[in-house]
């Protein structure tokens, strides 16, 4: 193992039924990079067809990649792969968390943990380098994630990183998360740990992650180059949100919010972000004042600092001082980002008492709600939870399905009045055992139970994507057919930000189109926002590239909310990024000289393996009709408008069938069914996968 760099070379396998703990060689999976790649292969190989998410036979693979734990920018993500309980077929999904867990796992000497079997009693896993033990968790069962973390830190020391589930996971709710470092949550697999009675994992490690021999100087140069010339702000937005002397362009939607007179106002003394011009590597961490972006201008004076994941210079998590939370029995702090803030607000169906969507009541709701959701280990399902509640409440369905006594016991008045205390009531009832808690089943199972009907599935604002019943995530409104294609390829909401980062970078459309031409072969790969054109092969290339980069980032691991570097803020580069950066870091870390093209092929291998695992789970090759379906609202929105006219995101049914064909063609899959052929699998070195699918009669 002396020559292995980047990777640590070991995977930990923990069987909770037998109590067996052993290590295995990571390197047999090296062509699948790490993280999601390893996870997909293990689930494909080892979890029998027909297994359900909460069955003992299901496994959970928590894995990272060769860049995790290094100083590569934004490399602190952890990937979790297992069957997805929200999916109608319990097909394979992965969830992702930031924070410190992945790096700590590497420092303890592991590239991943395979959790199998199920314990009869609550346990937690204690990892201190080579010392790994299964510990009794009966005193932790029933606790929130924060108390669990504290209790394990009491035992292991405060340097340990703890990932745990809350009551939602213990109760095997589909919408349950795994949370590390207080607020870094991975959504969708918490209930599986609950079914296995695994409350938490605590990790402490003293190893380092080595780079390949003599690469340290090159690594430093590469890092310097990226920080100076390439990286932008969160989501790789490369222009500031306001006009600034150094910037040619600006975009009010940019997460590069830094400007003169904008502060981390609750820091002592307050810290001014100032203008953080492109090229100034020492101010990258000040560029994204995300609190004001997420919570509005009122958040400035409450911002203690921006925090974030291990080895991330972007820092997208706002740390807030919120004494108002003490009224609800919490400490006066909150820390979160993005959907974790906006999701609680979506359950305030009648708005906020002070009538201001960016006012103090809204900020209290977002901070209080995100704290409760993280502590209870509740996953918002990319905000779908709030939309499902909205449909159930406003349609009268909730009144119909809840027992009268339960309905009357919930203080909906708080929500009607816009009182932030509704958060306590709402989340509190979600983790009780009543009918209300079935909102945590997720759209497909909720509809089976409560019969939501056509209005819900076809309603534009409810965002439910096709038969697979996950929420849309940067779909047709993001790059037309490109976003729609990306949304059909997953078994949960598409966590692919590659295309959205590019579309939302903030540059003029002609410049973006030029870059699109260089990366995907033609400027026609990109349409102007809400001014779409019919499908073409370059859009299929753009979609495939985005999907593959997403799989790459979840495997290597890098944060897809910043990577890839398709554009840059550098005027002297004419805003070109560097899409080969992942392969450069990979080569330096592992010592395996790998070009961008080589790494793209490895990413395609992982994407195709994900597809193969989905086919095995669904037991059909007819992906086009059974999996890759597109909801009616994509085609029926704006009834008075035609597709491909200015001002609408409406798409055309036939055109999307063509889009699917073109995407299948890009992957070399069967164009009729969308299933990988033996030739496609063998081209990617997946002969054993082809053999297994053939045995199951699942090759086209």
């Amino acid at each position: 193992m002396a020559n292995i760099t980047g990777w640590q070379g070991s995977l930990l396998r923990v069987n909770l039924t037998t109590g067996n703990i052993k290590t295995e060689d990571t390197m047999k999976y090296k062509d699948l990079i790490g993280g999601a790649g390893i996870g997909y292969k293990i689930i494909f190989d080892e979890v029998p067809q027909g297994t359900k998410a909460f069955d003992e036979a299901n496994k959970v693979v928590i894995a990272v990649g060769p860049l995790t734990g290094t100083a590569a920018p934004c490399s602190g993500r952890t990937n979790i792969t297992s069957l997805g309980p929200t999916n109608p077929y319990h097909a394979i999904t992965d969830s992702h968390m930031g924070g410190n867990f992945g790096a700590w796992l590497k420092f303890a000497g592991y590239d991943g943990i395979i959790i199998e079997g199920a314990s009869k009693t609550p346990v937690w896993l204690k990892i201190e380098d080579d010392k790994v033990s299964i510990e009794d968790a009966s005193s932790l069962w029933g606790k929130g994630t924060i108390d669990t973390e504290h209790a394990i830190n009491e035992i292991m020391g405060k340097e340990a990183c703890v990932a745990s589930i809350g009551p939602a996971g213990e109760k095997q709710k589909n919408l349950a998360s795994i949370v590390n470092s207080v607020n870094h949550s991975a959504g969708g697999h918490g209930g599986i740990l609950g079914a296995k009675k695994l409350k938490a994992i605590g990790i402490l490690g003293k190893r380092s992650v080595h780079l390949a021999d003599e690469n340290a100087q090159e690594w430093l140069k590469l890092n310097e180059y990226m920080m100076k010339d390439i990286i932008g702000a969160n989501n790789q937005h490369v222009v500031p949100s306001t006009p600034q002397p150094w910037a040619e362009y600006h975009n009010p939607g940019s997460r590069w919010t830094a400007q003169l007179g904008l502060f981390w106002g609750a820091a002592n003394p307050p810290v001014e972000t100032g203008e953080c011009a492109a090229g100034d590597k020492n101010k990258v961490g000040l560029r994204t004042q995300k609190a004001v972006f997420d919570l509005g201008p009122i958040a400035e004076e409450r911002t203690v600092k921006m925090g974030g994941c291990y080895s991330c210079p972007i820092r997208c998590q706002s740390n807030m001082y919120m004494p108002e939370l003490e009224k609800y029995g919490l400490t006066p702090y909150a820390t979160s980002t993005c959907i974790n803030y906006s999701s609680p607000a979506s359950a305030m169906l009648k708005g906020f008492a002070d009538g201001d969507t960016k006012g103090m009541d809204a900020m209290i709701v977002k901070c209080l709600g995100s704290r409760l959701a993280d502590d209870y280990g509740i996953w918002s399902n990319y905000g779908q939870l709030g939309r499902d509640f909205k449909f159930a409440y406003t349609s009268g369905k909730l009144k119909e399905v809840l027992p009268k006594e339960e309905y009357n016991s919930i203080n909906f008045d708080l929500m009607e009045k816009g009182d932030p205390a509704w958060m306590v009531e709402y989340y509190g009832n979600l983790i009780k055992d009543g009918e209300f808690s079935h909102l945590l089943d997720g759209p497909y199972w909720l509809d089976q139970r409560w019969n939501f009907g056509k209005e819900y599935w076809d309603g534009y604002g409810y965002n439910v994507w096709s038969k697979m019943a996950y929420p849309k995530h940067h779909s047709n409104e993001a790059g037309a057919q490109v976003g729609a294609l990306i949304n059909v390829m997953f078994n949960r909401d598409a966590n692919s930000h590659t295309h959205m980062n590019f579309i939302g970078a903030g540059l003029p459309i002609e410049l973006l189109k030029e870059i699109a031409g260089e990366v995907w072969g033609s400027p026609d790969a990109l349409d102007a926002p809400k001014n779409y054109t019919p499908m073409n092969e370059y859009k299929a290339k753009f979609a495939k590239w985005s999907i593959d980069r997403n799989f790459l980032h979840d495997s290597i691991t890098l944060c897809n909310w910043v990577w890839p570097m398709t554009v840059s803020p550098s005027k002297s580069r004419n805003y070109r990024g560097d899409t080969a950066l992942e392969s450069k870091f990979f080569s330096l870390a592992t010592g395996i000289e790998t070009s961008e093209k080589d790494l793209d092929l490895m990413s395609e291998r992982i994407a195709t393996l994900h597809r193969a695992a989905t086919i095995k789970n669904m037991n059909t090759i007819d992906m086009r009709n059974e999996h890759d379906t597109i909801p009616n609202w994509v085609f029926d929105v704006d009834p008075d408008m035609k597709p491909f006219t200015e001002g609408t995101v409406k798409l055309d049914r036939d055109d999307m069938q063509l889009a699917l064909t073109m995407l299948y063609k890009e992957y070399g899959w069967d164009e009729k069914t969308g299933a990988p052929t033996r030739a496609a699998l063998e081209r990617l070195g997946l002969k054993d996968v082809a053999d297994e699918l053939e045995k199951l009669n699942l090759l086209p």
Partner: protein, 209 residues
Amino acid sequence: MNNESYKNDELTDEELTKSDYNSGEEDGIEEVQDKVVLLGCFIRDKSYEGILTNAEDLLDEPLSLEVDEILTMIDDLQTREEFSDICVRKGKEKIYLFSENHITNNYAKMMISVEERDLFKMIAETVREESKIYPRPTDVRLFTKAPFKLSKEEFYQIYEQLKKNEEYNDIQETRASNNAMYLYSDRFMKKVHAASLTEWIEVEAEQNP
């Protein structure tokens, strides 16, 4: 897009500034050159602080130039390769100078329109530019920010006047469902497109983070 530029050695700050001070010979001709160098450095320093240099500023300390030497010196400055970053823009009555190392052309254009108090043009050209290049409708709150810095009241007063002016009849108004007001130029954007993008920017984008 494989870029190897990280391997190039960068000039150090010292090397970059060396040329500014190398011409310091003490005879008469060099003295004039010195003044040109000083002028270049003065413009750069002000640009670094985000301020345009107005040619009239050159009459005052520290440069204290004579009126009749200003234009010659600016011409001279423009022939110097080491000052190729210095840009000269003629306004209605004034001449503006800036270093594009610190102020981009786009931003300088906005600053000059503010400086010249040509407020109709300032609003209209900003809106036209945004409708044309991004393309997006312009959030009117933009005009309360730097470099415009109009108060809300000032903006609405100017906007009411602008609406009556033929020259700007391409500037149209659209509102999001939360009533936020945006402007667009119908030379570059259709009404339906502007309305739909306004709704996206103001309401929908936040629901799709």
